[in-house]
Symmetry: C2
Subunit: 427 residues, 2 copies
């Protein structure tokens, strides 16, 4: 196969006709395939079914002296705090265990910053005029939606192979209206980038102008390797504390992609002082989160070592899904030189960069042919990809045979829009 850019106008037109025919054939299959969200598939959900029956008797419902069925223990069941502490290499007193969604804890942290202020806020963020927030991009669409919902001005920061462009970050934090930054530091959404130790140390040692500058460290994929052994990861909270920033970072994690996405448990971790401060505010909002589900998880997952064994079973299911996509891209797209993509070692996404100006159109065509993907642009602040290039592929949910069909269609759409583009704007 000859790269498209090296083909003549006539060859491109012929190829366009071939791809168009193939797409028309595909549409007739009336497919309904979804590669839009990074969520575990059915085989993965089956791995945690035993958890549903690990609390049966009254005695089962006790965590030491604590009755997990009743009110109380706002910051979480002691054993659940210890579990997340083990998972994240921190201390239990740094952990607040929440409900089934770490997103809720992130949102509530921002919401409380706006209405009440954080520990070091001179005034609540709602009284601060413009609030700017650093958004390494591409990134997680739901982070950006929180910022947008509160009317923040989002500052895109370029992602590099070692994490956010730290020169830019160090420059931006000198602005006292820059109040925070979103980070997905291990197997970043969508690029699967693992922040380097240097990047992490530079983040920990930032000297922001705003006294309440806050990093939301969404460690969503902390134990989510796709193959091989668990990759140890620098512990940001102690690094920040050593660098003189004990209260600058809030870390988040959950079991959404360990047990059940809709019925897991989540945590927020920071300095004990920050956790105390937030616990007082959260105590007005809720008496306690669901401790029975916390206990269910502790009994089932036990500790980090045992959780890592479960994660290997997830990886064994996930890896073929990633390979199916990567194989197809390598076979169908690589020789044409019309796109590049990531080869993640963990997380839930393959991040593809199509020819500039073609991502939206590619996904619209895919949708017509029955393949739903994350909306183009979603991985950028305000949903605006400056190059209209990034496509987030979530291969976990469709069964392998469906996945192969979906990627086949995606490849056709990528070829189609690249050909259109080249015919419009010859190289």
């Amino acid at each position: 196969m000859i790269p498209y850019a090296q083909r003549s106008r006539e060859e491109l037109q012929e190829e366009l006709n071939r791809v168009q025919d193939a797409l028309e054939q595909a549409k007739k299959r009336n497919l309904k395939l979804d590669m839009s969200r990074g969520k575990p598939g059915k085989e993965q959900l089956a791995l945690s079914m035993d958890m549903l029956t690990d609390l049966v008797t009254v005695e089962d419902c006790f965590d030491g002296a604590a009755d997990a069925r009743n009110y109380g223990m706002l910051n979480g069941l002691p054993s659940a705090r210890a579990f997340f502490a083990d998972l994240l290499d921190i201390r239990p007193e740094q952990v607040f265990v929440g409900g089934n969604a770490s997103l809720q804890l992130m949102y509530d942290l921002i919401a409380k910053a706006y209405t009440h202020g954080l520990k070091h806020s001179p005034v609540p963020w709602s009284k601060r005029g413009t609030v700017r927030f650093l958004c390494p991009a591409p990134g997680y669409d739901r982070h950006f939606r929180i910022s947008q919902s509160f009317g923040m001005e989002m500052i895109p920061v370029a992602m590099t192979e070692t994490g956010p462009d730290m020169d830019a970050v160090e420059q931006w934090v000198k602005d006292p209206s820059v109040l925070g930054m979103w980070c997905c530091p291990k197997y970043s959404n969508p690029d699967g980038i693992v922040y380097s130790e240097e990047t992490i140390c530079r983040i920990a040692a930032l000297r922001p102008a705003a006294p309440d500058f806050t990093i939301l460290w969404d460690n969503a994929y902390c134990v989510h390797e796709l193959e091989g052994e668990y990759v140890p990861f620098p512990e940001i909270l102690s690094l920040a504390a050593h660098a003189g920033n004990p209260d600058m970072v809030f870390e988040f994690a959950s079991t959404s992609k360990i047990t059940f996405p809709g019925a897991g448990i989540s945590c927020m971790a920071s300095s004990p002082q920050n956790i105390d401060y937030l616990t007082k505010l959260i105590g007005v909002q809720i008496i306690s989160f669901d401790k029975l589900n916390q206990l269910r998880h502790v009994r089932f997952l036990k500790d980090k070592a045992h959780t890592l064994k479960l994660m290997k079973r997830h990886a064994a299911i996930l890896k073929p899904h990633f390979d199916a996509v990567l194989d197809a891209l390598k076979r169908e797209i690589a020789p044409l030189e019309i796109a590049t993509w990531t080869q993640p070692k963990g997380g839930y996404f393959i991040s593809l960069y199509a020819m500039h100006g073609t991502a939206k159109r590619t996904l619209a065509l895919a949708k017509e042919a029955g393949v739903t993907m994350t909306e183009a642009g979603a991985t950028y602040p305000y949903g605006q990809d400056p190059f209209d290039s990034n496509i987030r592929i979530a291969p976990s949910v469709p069964p392998l045979d469906e996945l192969r069909q979906a990627v086949e269609i995606l490849c056709l759409c990528l070829r189609y829009t690249a050909l259109e583009q080249l015919l419009k704007n010859p190289v």
Copy 2:
């Protein structure tokens, strides 16, 4: 027994000595009894243990075509929406099903009013200058804490035997800075008052000056009769809609006192338009609440009729607890004419009115003798009971023998402070 007010100074002093001796004896027992929070006791928690095992197989986890384990269905599992609709005599599209805490839904409604505004808000409440809120008092301390946390100016409204003083409410809502009202309409916390139909109709037909005036209708005890049959209750949402206020009321309920306080499910109900508006805002905060727990509840509770059967079993356990308190008060306190109290037909509290100026001191003495009760004043805005009189008794948790000891001590403390008061300020 002669009423204290009719006794001579010498007789009062002798009685004080006797009570003091009895209290000293009681202290030596080193008791640790808790009548502070309205939460189910162990016998009650045992009633719902079967719920823990009603989801076992993969098939069990499906609600029709919906897999309750995974993400999605933000406003709740269809069957859970239908369950709460049945419970509250409304339609499923009026229902948003949340997590384990209706308090969280109430707090989040207020928080979103502040940061984003409600459906009819000209601007968010954070931009409104003084926000006033009507607080029928005595009322639920956690309602008042939410208002206080957001810096509202709380306006106490007197409770009558038929609900809040509606003449006062109708007058207050003419003030455009009055943006809402807390209501606990059936078996009110702490007085156990059931709002009359006339009161409810007047609330539904209010003509508030603020376009986004909002009633938080906390129907926490909607099926929580202490004896006899379920008492039907006017349905506020349709009444308000008929009176031209379709979006004025948000109703809340939960299973905290039906199944497990810490691991139940909750709901918020309003007009479909309000639910749509809030669902969009909540969609930024969370992908979905715990639907496995929603399904667990639906399978166990089935529907309103079946839930009412369970509530009769709760009542059979609770009634003797209430009777133990009421019997002791009738025997020990009534003849002395130093306090009055409610005889609730549902809910979780007995509300006692001690001699003015003695509630704080009474509870401090009780605490010294090992009996913890809800802090005096907690049932009023800002924790300030204008008469220092109201004491909220929560008889559900202590086993009956402990409860009898606790009430015995409370009675001694009531006598002690009444005697002190009479000796200081003779009638």
